[in-house]
Amino acid sequence: MALSLRSASRKTWQTLSSIKTGVILIILVVIFSIAGTVILQRPMTDPDDMERAYSPAMLRLLDATGLTDVFHTYWFIALLVLVSLCIVAASIQRFPNSWRYFARPYKSPDESFRKNLPTQAQIPITGDEQGLSAAERAFKHLHLKTERIVRTDSFSLFSERNRISEMAVYIVHASLLLIFLGYGVVDAFYGWRGFLVLSPGTASNQIEMKNGATRTLPFSIRCDGTGEETYTDGTPKRWWSKLAVVDNGREIQRKEIVVNDPLVYQGVRFYQASWGRTGKLDQLILSAKPAGDTTRAPQEISLALNQTVALDPDTSVQLAEFIPDYVVQDGHVYARSNDVVHPAVHMIVTSKKANRSVNVWLPEIPDIAENASSPYVFEPKDLKTGVFTGLQVSHEPGQWSVWAGVVLMAIGLTFVFYVAHVRFWVVPVLDGRGQLALWVGGTANRNRDAFEQKFRRLVEQIQKELKPAAVAPAQTQATTTTAGR
């Protein structure tokens, strides 16, 4: 029983670490990702659009299988977890071998290795020392460091470059795991996103979350002003908001944010996401003239909602209602929408002495307004409606892991693709005819074209260095062989 359990776990391990499993998993990820882009996704689509696009039965099926929100279903997440496990298993499986390679470089090649190495050459020499020192000079000429390997019965040269390249693939895989960790673990469990709407002069610490819940921040954000700049054709050019962080009643930080430049405090980011008009009145500018009196100049007053302003010692006016888009029905005034398209204001003009209040409407609404009996005639000059700034609020502590992963991956990929581990060995040997020769061999783990060129240059350079010692060029038959790759 225990044995079979062990063999089962070994089998699982082998399956998990095999490249075949990895490839199949990636293909599955690709297929489901495609499904997630072809089928309309719940989080990004209006429910109405969903119902228009699919029949009710189809929609039920899609919802039940999670195909309407592929990227957040447990099976897609499970798939990504499996991919991560596969990467980990494959890396662990292959790591010891690479590590041996990395930690204990093979410095003095034995005979069978020399025989089987695809790229090698033999150069006739007259003496061990003469040959090796010529080779050393040649390496130096090509800016390669050499190491003399001294054994009891032989000595040889070893030179290598970029040994770290053997580890590069693990760097890339580790970086991928860092990204998964940041996105899939840290941000999935500790991150959140929400929305905050502020109008100038207000402060709040209540964030409306995507799912409709509210989140209370330990500090609040105050908006000191917001605005929009447009191009001449009316398309928005710039939205800005002046924000301040208020923590424990103290102002900690101030920043003017724009799109692409958020405010960050305690890991919470505030982004300029939208901007608009609230449909609420900010300020109404009016000119008021006493009724029937043409000699007195009109006075200009400004009113906010529910504000009362004295017009003369006896009379005052109060702004009672502001309706951004009014419609009259059955003797009542209703608001049709919150867009400021057909604004109407309701004011109450009070005379203390007469103890009389008059309802004034602008524009004058028949049957409701009592404008005719008002002691003052009002004329609207300007209407300032309120604006709001929409802030996207997010807390993504995992992003640092993601960015670290990205940087690491860039480094890893550079090593994987552009930095080759190149090794050279030089050993004095007796060639087939029993003559002394310098065996030169080398390998590279990638970019073999460039390596072979370098190898040829090295062999030529060694021959050149040997020249002063008068070696007949006819004898220098360097046999360079290459296995077909």
């Binding site: 690709v30 692409n260 992003q399 693709f417």
Partner: protein, 465 residues
Amino acid sequence: MAQARAEQQPATGTTLIVLVGLSIAFLLFMAFLNVVKSGNILNESNLLYAALIFYAGAGALYLGFGVTATESYIKFASLATWAGLVANTGAVAHRWYEAGHPPFASVYEMLLSFVWTLAALTLIAEKRYGVKVIGTVTMPVAIVGVVLMQLLRTEVHPLVPALQSTWLHVHVTLAMLAYAACALSFALAMMFLIQDKMKTESFLAATSVFTLGIYASILTRFEKWGGLSVIAWDAENKSEVFLAKNVRLFVTIPELGWMMLLVFAAVATPLVLYVMSRVKKNEGFLDVANRAIFISILLQILALVFFLLRARDGSYPSLDAEGLYPTNLAASPFILSALVGGIFANLLYLLLLWRREDLERHLPDADALDRITYKTICIAFPLLTLMIAAGAYWANRAWGSYWNWDPKEVWAAITWLVYALYLHMRITRGWRGRRAAYFAILGFAVVMFTFFGVTYLLNGLHSYA
């Protein structure tokens, strides 16, 4: 058309150079007259025009080299490419200066940058790797690009707030470089297949499937009573017409749908004949298929002409709103490039059909092509990685989240995964030769879908590009 003519009568010796020289001189003269009239020599449209002339000359010369193998053509072809590149650089610089941001904001500007990258890469591939005939493939693409740009010419558009970021430029530059590298790897993989003695009829099948795919996706816009719906165009604001946020208004051009359906059938014919030749093991069907290709090219050109005539301007009814709405070629860049791309692919097949031996003689050998394909992907993959990373970083600054599962993002990730698979198969499984070439082709198909298909067929945040 010009290509088909050049293939039928391969010019010998200096004839072609003289012809190309004469036509360049003529076109330059015409351009000169134009300049005298407008009194402004170094504006963007003149520079683009010059680039078009030189690229066209280079394309003709590369083709001439492909067909006749006259070495001197290559010299002149590179020279013409250089001249075109200089003019193109001028156009890019002019646009940049005028707009105040690097030219990546609209389809027009991206094409401008893409053509520039393509020309530069062609010269690099030729000088550095000695792949001389690469211009035969890339120059016609550049020509199509410049012609498309003439149709799509737009005023300098102001940037909406989300696009005002340096990271956008980094992201798009990387995307262009990566996609150009993918395009190159695709062309090299195709050349590998030619050198690997893949049968000409397999290319026939591939070309037909590709073209069939194009017409199938165009026919997704087929409407009742044989119409074809295209996006309405607001000439005054030079923009598409939106019914609501991200909902475009479509107008239906009558009869054009039937035309596309007819071409679809014409394109399917060679494929059917190919399948029959395989099933019945009768080579005779292939001869008919090659003739059918010829007919399908003619019909495709006809479809393009009809499309140009009807969609250039004019007002058409819409299914979603009452009244007539105008449209413009600028509103349908994808249909247009699909039509042109289909014709181009079929012409390339004809080149292969008629001049295979010459091509084989002048291409590098299969092993070298295999290696260079791999190397190009080694360049493309890190660029893709960085492109996605820069895009994520930008999204994080603009939308408050570095990953939104937006269709464009997902497809970029799919592209990345496909190339990652290629690399794993090659490095650990030792995939070489055909299988690797197929994979490189698949990779590029995914790139094309990410670039065009996602914008055309799927909605998302990336609505501006």
